[in-house]
Subunit: 333 residues, 2 copies
DNA sequence: TTGTACGCGTTATCAA
DNA sequence: TTGATAACGCGTACAA
């Protein structure tokens, strides 16, 4: 079952290669219905499929989109992929992926490989915050940043809102009559953590609520647990109506375990909310009011922007698009 | 900054295309050190990169591996990808991914697209259990099944051990002196669930331990929680030393919440263990003894088998390879 | 309405 | 030790 070529099909159908090619590309402007039919049947009969490599060489199109993901080992990134993949498929592009493993050299290598492959566009979850790192590639082929924006904002990007949704949740907490918000977060070393913290804090201030940052240590260390436990019990013994906000899934899980451990009732004694990066918060008892990032929408939208950028017909909008997060109002606050 | 071609490099270096090509492919058998150096410098200076499409057309190699993953929206699948991706990269292959979304037509479409792209090999997490579905493709290009074996065992596959590791954990439970094992599982409709259940049950029988299947309903329904809660409290009131085994992450999480809810001490009043598909069980208090599947190893090993299958030099072993799971012995049992 | 002939950028064979 | 040159499979002016 060796590979058919256009020439064989042509001679089998009794026409020339050109006619077959025209047929394949839908250029049957002035092709007799008769030949069309004959070609269709021959192709079917011989089970012929055009050779993409040759087509690519000729047309200088690869049909490939490259996606560099920072770390595939978490649900968030894989949902980015999933969203992007679906849109790529709808538009008949193939998605090629590489992992940068949060390493700059690995990222650079991946970019080079993509350029070599002559992908038609690149989606990247950038490691660096420095826009200039991506210049050489970004000028050579369309590129959209995913999940993170770099400075200055040279490149189009699709990101998740961290400040906005946090604020929205904060407003909700205020409305519920809490008098203090305790923000549990790992050390504020990343932009994401800072934004989540800032959003919560800002709204608290606006409504003159007290807010407190509880910085949690390395979650894998055992003494982190006891430290947190101590802080939590101090907190709830205060004479305030307290709402806890955990700024990621792991921290949230930890907080819940501690509250159970201390036999503290949610939401009677303390309100609980947080970011649910893994989509499990609905399983808790009571179900946790949480912010859920729509990673697959981010991936999908980024791919749409990229495709618009590739398509010479469509006007490409080079902007930073923010995808709203979902706020799941449940029983815990 | 338009694309250089080999011809331009050749004339710039004052040699012929052939010599450049030889240089590029490392065939400097009888090339003067002088020309080698001159070519090296010219390539560098012009920043020349060979056109992969042309190379592919000529050599009939695409350098592409296709991976069809059933559903990218879960951690397990994304780790499969991650493992496969790393190995592909080491061997200078590009990974193209498509999602079958657990749909047979979608899977078939993806397979077709891969064949059209002339990928050199296919990794697939098959939807169907029927081997014959994959015949037409599997005969045309190397293929390795990932995560699932089909019947009859026509294709090489890399799967995770569900029976073995469960048995191993069961032995451990026996050794710890428990007198009864309660197996919490969703309805035994999949092979995976059946194997996990069977492994546990078999060992229990061997040691004449009592074992009981507690079938849990849809985890998203609220009454599932109360039903489970009832079953759990009945269980612990029995006059036995009971170990609970939850056959997946969600069930395990549910069991933990219930035990907390009922103020039942782990492991004093009841032992707890289970499958930890999301790698969070270490966060619980006490940390949970659990089975952790090494999905990224599965992906990596599958890719290795596939590459061996592609490489005409290496002998390809068409077998079903089972990757052992990790058993994390912690405090909960 | 269809066919001829050339070129896309490589690799590889043969000759020098 | 290197250079001409013919493919690889397809698309497309241009000619018919």
């Amino acid at each position: 079952m060796k590979k058919m070529t256009i020439a064989e099909v042509a001679s089998a159908a009794g026409v020339s290669k050109a006619t077959i090619s025209r047929f394949l590309n839908g250029n049957y402007g002035k092709m007799s219905a008769d030949t069309q039919e004959r070609i269709r049947q021959t192709i079917q009969r011989l089970n012929y499929r055009p050779n993409k490599q040759a087509q690519m060489l000729k047309t200088n199109r690869s049909g490939l989109i490259g996606f560099i993901v920072a770390d595939m080992g978490n649900l968030y990134s894989s949902k980015l992929l999933s969203g992007a993949s679906a849109v790529a498929r709808e538009n008949d592009y193939q998605l090629v992926i590489m992992e940068s493993n949060n390493s700059l050299v690995s990222e650079e290598d991946a970019l080079k490989k993509f350029v070599d492959q002559s992908v038609e566009g690149i989606l990247i979850q950038p490691i660096s915050e420095d826009s200039s790192r991506y210049e050489s590639v970004g000028k050579r082929c369309p590129m959209v940043l995913v999940d993170r924006q770099t400075t200055p904002k040279t490149w189009p990007a699709v990101i998740v809102d961290n400040a906005l949704s946090t604020k929205y949740l904060a407003e909700y907490i205020v409305k519920k009559g809490y008098s203090k918000i305790a923000i549990f977060s790992e050390s504020l070393t990343t932009d994401v953590r800072r934004k989540r913290y800032a959003g919560m804090r800002e709204v608290a201030k606006e409504h003159s609520l007290e807010s407190e940052l509880v910085e949690v240590g390395n979650l894998q260390l055992t003494n982190t647990y006891s430290d947190m436990k101590k802080r939590v019990s101090e907190l709830v013994s205060e004479d305030e109506k307290i709402a806890i906000f955990a700024s990621n899934s792991q921290t949230l899980l930890m907080v819940l375990r501690i509250l159970d451990d201390l036999r503290i009732k949610i939401p009677d004694e303390v309100g609980v909310s947080g970011y649910d990066d893994w989509n499990w918060a609905f399983l808790a008892q009571p179900a946790i009011t949480s912010i859920e990032q729509n990673a697959s929408d981010v991936g999908a939208e980024a791919m749409r922007m990229l495709l618009a950028d590739i398509d010479p017909l469509r006007e490409s909008v080079k902007e930073t698009k923010v995808i709203p997060s979902k706020i799941n109002i449940r029983e815990s606050i």
